[in-house]
Structures are given as C-alpha cells and as structure tokens.
Symmetry: C2
Amino acid sequence: MTTYAVIGAGAVGGFYGAKLAQGGSDVHFLFRDHAHHVRTSGLDVRSVDGDFVLEDLSTHEEWSTLPEVDVVIVAVKSTANEDVAPRIPAILRPGGAVLLIQNGLGSEPLFAEALDGQGEVIGGLAFINSERTGRNQVTHMGNGGLTIASYLPDYVAAGITDWMRAIAADFEMTSVPVQLQEDLVLARWMKLLWNIPYNGLSVLLQASTAEIMNDPQSTELVEAIMAEVIAAAASDGRELPAGLAELMLDATRKMKPYATSMKVDFDKNRPLEVEAIVGEPLRRGQGHGTPMPVIETLYRALCFTNARITSS
Amino acid sequence: MTTYAVIGAGAVGGFYGAKLAQGGSDVHFLFRDHAHHVRTSGLDVRSVDGDFVLEDLSTHEEWSTLPEVDVVIVAVKSTANEDVAPRIPAILRPGGAVLLIQNGLGSEPLFAEALDGQGEVIGGLAFINSERTGRNQVTHMGNGGLTIASYLPDYVAAGITDWMRAIAADFEMTSVPVQLQEDLVLARWMKLLWNIPYNGLSVLLQASTAEIMNDPQSTELVEAIMAEVIAAAASDGRELPAGLAELMLDATRKMKPYATSMKVDFDKNRPLEVEAIVGEPLRRGQGHGTPMPVIETLYRALCFTNARITSS
C-alpha cells in the first residue's frame, strides 16, 4: 500500500488527504497549527460529494515525527516552497514521488533539485474550489477533480508514469476524479489561462469574478490577458485547445460571485502567489519572444501590492 | 478693464480668481455651495506667496445672476463639462474668451462648439498644487503658475492671441507667473507626461507619489507609461523636450508624498477624470497608430473603478 504525507493540510491538501485516507490509504498529515484540535475532533469535510468527519488520523506538528513515505503531497502556497523543498528528502523514501498540487508555473524545478534524482516530481492541478472554513474544517464546493502530470527538466512532456498510475489508483477508491496528463506544462498553461486574468484582476480591481464579468472594460482586460497567455503557450510549443478561452469566459460569467485564491490571500494580508501565477509565465513567454504588455503591467502592479503586504 | 466670471471656484478657480481680484480685476464668482459663507467671511487664501482674505467679492449661487463678462474662467472638473459648456454663451459677451483651466485632453472642442464662433477658447494648465481646505478657504502649496494657449480645431497650433496677452497682463498685477504657449496640445502632452502615470497609478495602486517612486516595479510602470506618452505625442506631431521624463521622475522622487487629484477624487468617492486624463490621450495616440498597451490596461482598470464610483 502506498503511504502518503500531506504537507500543507489546508483547503487543498486537507481535502485530498482526507479523501485518500477515507478511501483506505495510509496518510500522515503535517499541520502548522490546530494539530491538537484535528486530533481530538477529527478533520471535518463538507463536500458537494457528501460530508464526512475523518477521525483517528495521523497528525504531526513537526517534520521530525513524520514517517518516511512513498508519496509526499505538497499543497502549501508556492510562496512557501523555498522552506519546504529542502525538507522533503528526509521524509521521502528513495524512488518515491512528490506530488506538488499548486497553481502557476515554475515550482517543480525547485523540488526536482531538492530530490537530486532520488525521486519523481509530479505536478498536480486542483479543480475543486475548496476553502478552509474552520480550525478542523474544509469545505469543498466545486465538482472538478485533480489533474496530474510528471515533471521532466525544462518541462519536456514526460508521458504517463508508474507513480501517476499508482496515485490515480488510490484516488479511484474516492469520489475524486483524476486525470493523467502526458504534458505537465500544457496542463499548467491551460489552468493559467483562467488563473492569470482572474487572480490578477481580482486583486488589482478589488473585485469578485462576477464584478469583473459584469463590466465591459474589465472583461476586455480578461480577454486581452487570455490572448497573451495563448500566445505565450504557443511560443512555448503548446497549442491551447481552440475555444478554451470562450468556454472559460462563459463558465465564469455563470459562476456565483467568487473570490479567487489570490484575492483571499490579499484579504487575509498574506503573501500573494505573484511569481508562480504571473511572473513565471510572463518570463517564460517573454523568453520565447512573445510580447505580453498587459500581463507585464498586471505583474508589476501585483508586485507593488505584494511588496506592501510582505513588508507590513 | 477686462471682466471675469469664475465657474468652479474651488481649489484652482478660487485661487486664480482671488488673485485676479486682488490684483484689481473685476471678478464674479459662481459658487455651487457656501456662497453665503464666502460673502460674509470672505475668500481665505493661504498661499506660499502670502496669505490674504478677499472680502466684498461678487458671489453668485445661480448662473442667472452672473453679469455678462469678457472672460469666463472654467475650472470645474472635466466630468462636469457637459453641464457647463452650454451655459457659457449666456454670460460671455460676443467676442470674449473662455479660459478652460483643466487637466487632460479633449475638453476644448466642446466649449468651442458651444460658443459657435462667437468667442475664443483658451486652454489653461495649472501648476499650483492647491487644495480646498475649508468652506471659504483655498490653500496654495506649489510655486508654479499658469500656462495658457489658444485652441483651434483639431488642436492646430494657434500662436499668441490678443486675449492671451490681455489675460497675462491682468495676471501681471498678481504673483502668478503666466506662460504663453503657441501650441496648446504640446503644453497638454507635456503635462500629461506626469498626469497619466501618477494620477492613474495613484488610484490603481492606492498609493501616494512617494510610494510609487519607492518601489522599483511601480517606477517601471511610470517609465513605461511615460514612454508611451512620448510616442503618442510624437505621432501627434509634438516632440516632447528631451529629458523631460527624467526631470519629472526626479522631481517626483524629491516631492513630499502627494495625493494626485484623481486619488483625492477617489478618496472622496467623486467621479474620476478618466476620459480627459487617460482615455482621450489614449484614443488620440492610438488614432495615429501608436501602440499604447500599458496605458490601455491602465485605462480599462480605471474605467472599471470609475464605473463602481459613478454607479454607487
């Protein structure tokens, strides 16, 4: 049986970890805080797929008490990666895998470097729309799943690996649909097509997705940003599916007013994932010679805002 | 003796009107509110050039009681132009002049149309840094003056006119230095080189000039916007003086933290002068084929913010 550790057991890691444990996997959780509360009261999952409380789970407050596992699920914010990556080798058995469930681009190399060839890095993309709603509670509102794809240096498409299949098999014991992708960076560009405009503009304009879509000027900004993402992905050798932008615009128009993860971070005065979500894609596209003036403007404005947060 | 009416006797109109009256000109003020207070207590001017209280001034609460004058000074926000312009012919003697002291571009045609050839339109640019600091008080902190230039259709350079000289002569009786410019749109582009980046970013980033200049990313944004203004002006046939951008950057870096007029409007939940300061220059530059992606992004974001203000 595959053993898991979950680093960053919040809205995303807490949900996926709880699902795996509920499905019968052996899962160990690292909680930054509230470990005691989770241990005594269980992890309370409110989900569109059915509520449950996971009890008797293996909770840890320190890295040092975590056992060595086959798969480390990292679901911290990308802003914490520098702290987390170097600690992974101590808890990952040689030949194991890191599943990095994060937004944005460019985080995998740091983990690959930390593993130094002693394990596989798999990128994960969450489509679950979950939120931490209490000390030991996660609320899951979406109905998407988890997309995973293995990482190779410079994001060369890695195909479907044994670890990907093993993780997917464990999730088959749960209600979480897992998609296996051969090309991690294609999957990341597809998600960035939504994440760059909506995360970025929600902070820049202090607006919900609904407010953004109800105004013609901000809608134009979304479309201009999407066009730049499509061009950047193309210059990176990834053709995004035709009509994907229109599909996302339409879906977002129909969504309930939604605060993006970056807006939630802003509201809580937490560091923003500017580099992973905006800076890294910008540098990658510009590195291929793609003009991205709207995203560059957005990026600089977000850097300003983020500097204000991190220096306060 | 030239007779004047001042429409919009706030921070800018109140200051220039008071100076003219103090210098001996015959000036009639239209006050939207506080006319009674000004009539009984006088107009209190706190100025780096010396404080004074202007008493016994001709104050009006209604357009209908204003006498016919030679020169109407219009110093309302550009957002009020549609209301103000049609009322001018009733108080301007045929052959008189409108002096439009406003920020931005594109407001003169509306007044020229209202005058229908029965008078001259002169654009005015204020460099005084003044604020309304009480019901009957204006505080003047800058040490610049007033630049004026006559308007001809499509902003063809109009040279120095008799009305310009007459107005300058009246200001010679005051401490306000007046510059006569032959080319109104050149003067306007020069001021826009400061106004577009600093007004726009102060609202977009919710920041003072000092905060903007203390961050490398927002400073880059200022520079990118200035480069687009310079290119737009060049495509409009106006070469901005070499080194002007650097001069402004440097001067702004040395200024005390300063809330731009657009930021003050934002803070007071008043309509923003988005069209005059950003939209009109953008359309003019783009009309000449100049790419202005950073200013266009700024414009759309400000339109979003302004729509939120005007619909609230």
